[in-house]
Assembly symmetry: C3
Homo-oligomer: 300 residues x 3
């Protein structure tokens, strides 16, 4: 990531740059939630252009920016819909980029973030564009693994919807920089598309959770969405096999961590929340220091 460039895809970053951000994020942890005071982004403004709602992502960018003494201008849903109707996105970005020092954009359409970057005077951060990328999510996932487990010699199972989950696709790509052992645990109809397996030279294979639960360090869960299935009965039959509760973890390693990008529906039973394995809320928190690191690096 060049100091004043954009952050559109995790592929924009080298392994060294990723490790640099993770290290920097660590140093920002005391500033998250105001445990320590920082004003390094004082008088700097961030625009949140969210064309679809995303409570966690928007709020953690806002918390990160404000935690560094900066400030945030949020586009309202009503304003977003009038952009959708009247003006081109390009013009909106051209104008807003003249008001602020950086833009975070989320949009239902793949490719929007890169298009916005082409029309912006200031750094653009992709906060998710449809089936496209969401690089700050990948960075906070890597940060969580690094902090709560280890990126070295990681044995990770990705479980649930591996076909449509943008989060999983980006994470796999980034993990391959660290020689992982990856297990793919999903229903047949939601298998990882072949294209994501090509060019990955890590150690990757299909498995069931029972086969590998005593071996893995990280279990990364995702939601299985009802909308992916032709009928509700099929959904219930399939999704039911990709849920976990405390019983699923009987044979787990003591140091297994469980992650989830959230929101969850019912794929992680609440009985798991109280176990030392559960790291998904901590993972959400890590979004703040990771985004602090990114913002501090990108904003002049």
């Amino acid at each position: 990531m060049s100091r004043f460039g954009h952050l559109i895809s995790i592929d924009d970053l080298s392994k060294d740059e990723i490790l640099y951000i993770l290290k920097k994020a660590e140093s920002f942890e005391p500033f998250a939630k105001g445990m320590d005071k920082s004003r390094i982004l004082e008088n700097r403004l961030l625009a949140n252009l969210f064309f679809e709602p995303s409570t966690r992502t928007r709020m953690s960018f806002e918390a990160a920016m404000k935690g560094l003494g900066g400030d945030v201008i949020n586009m309202t849903a009503q304003e977003a819909s009038s952009v959708a109707k009247g003006e081109t996105l390009a013009d909106t970005v051209r104008v807003v980029s003249r008001y602020v020092n950086a833009i975070v954009i989320r949009h239902p359409l793949e490719g929007t973030a890169r298009f916005a970057a082409e029309n912006s005077d200031v750094p653009v951060i992709n906060a998710g564009d449809g089936a496209g990328q969401h690089p700050t999510q990948t960075l906070l996932d890597l940060y969580t693994i690094n902090k709560e487990s280890s990126l070295k010699n990681i044995k990770i199972a990705l479980m649930g919807d591996l076909k449509y989950s943008r989060t999983v696709h980006s994470l796999i790509k980034a993990l391959t920089l660290f020689n992982p052992r990856i297990y793919l645990v999903s229903p047949d109809s939601l298998r990882l598309p072949e294209e994501f397996l090509e060019g990955i030279d890590g150690d990757i294979s299909f498995a069931s959770l029972g086969e590998i639960i005593d071996e893995i360090n990280v279990l990364y869960m995702t939601r299985i969405q009802k909308e992916r299935f032709p009928d509700e009965e099929e959904y219930r039959r399939v999704a039911g096999s990709y849920k976990i509760d405390v019983n699923s973890l009987k044979n787990a390693r003591e140091d297994l961590i469980i992650m989830h990008p959230l929101p969850r529906v019912d794929e992680i039973h609440h009985s798991v929340d109280g176990t030392p394995h559960a790291k998904y809320f901590q993972q959400a928190f890590y979004g703040v220091p990771v985004r602090m690191a990114i913002l501090s690096e990108m904003i002049e």
Copy 2:
């Protein structure tokens, strides 16, 4: 109120704690509207989780937090509705409480604030949950009485909808700590429910406004909502008798103050606004120093 506890109900506070907050609020008045500068909550973040709109309450919390140098993250209506659809409230609170130093929540369903508190890492303030509690409203009501009249030997009439008004129920409970003389002025169909009279050992009785207008120090008005009546004619007939104008105040004490939690519809005629009795806008303002006192006390 324990320094790092939650504020869910006015019943959580002892008389001493209430008086302490009122005193502290007084000291914050110069900071409201920036008449004096304070940064005691610098680098502290408050999340406003409003699941129903409330302009006055949300804005005065935001003004209070910012007036102390802190900052606020508002959940948008669009985000609130996607919480309603997808994620459990418990998970939302678990995540948001990791981004901020305190949470203000308003929700149409009674009991939500306490449930949120059980899932939060940080102090939760109830800003109204349905028919439940709205303790900061009660505190600003008490502050207004204390400031513009006196809590000692108070003679107060509560007028209008005494059946459904959450504000009135909480205020009565809190007032009984101060040996008040309370008059209840309402249509039969909107009388105070018996349960609120039980356990109150103050001096409380039903009356008409005419009977007691020359005696009372405080007239606390509330809205009578059309929706409470079977038909509009019945509403108009009843509501018409519970409105005031300058003529209703001919025999009032010179030092009578009139309060209203706002918004009003037409129960207080605009001719009253210019009289020295009218304190309802001042009362709204007092929400800022009172909430400053509460935030400064609750946020670490």
Copy 3:
């Protein structure tokens, strides 16, 4: 503009006052986008009461206020609609004006801003009220002309919808303080109403763009809205003649500047964006220092 007065109409300002604001805005340019740090409005609060969405105007007021170290409370769309339903605007303004140090209001109904000012304890700035005024837009238009061209001996063409464009009406009035040469370029059905010509003693005449393109210093474009026409074919025929592209500018003066209040639809072809004539995005940016000047002047 009296230091603590309201800003409702450009007519409220004398020529000297306008020039004073333009000069002051110049001094604030380094503070826009945080190029220089200012905290002159620290602990001051602005309320944005937008009863209709306006991304550019709202965001640039927010950027201006925050760029001076102040803070902003935005009314949400949901809150605005509950004001529309329940409470009178007068009461809302009375309450909000007790929370903040100034109010910016935008409303679809002409006259609303002045009415709000009458009920406010703090300065009110009109950010557009229907067919009424939008004085900060006029000030930023004048600032752009002054900065990128010159207000002295200006030869300006106003092109497009001159009948309904509030922006154009206000700009003409303000320009006449500077002895301009004004050309009106519009379809017959969208001509400037006679009332705006009366009392203007400047040099003003109707023209086609081709006749005057080699003479003018400023081309001020506006949108022609489909809704103004009985059918779409008529719209397309008329609007088509009031668009520009690089070919329209072949005979233009080298120092011609093109302005537009934005959003544009297709009246300025994208091929124009890259020419040195195009100043409409810069014009949008100038909204920030101009509003900084106004806020710093009006807020105590």
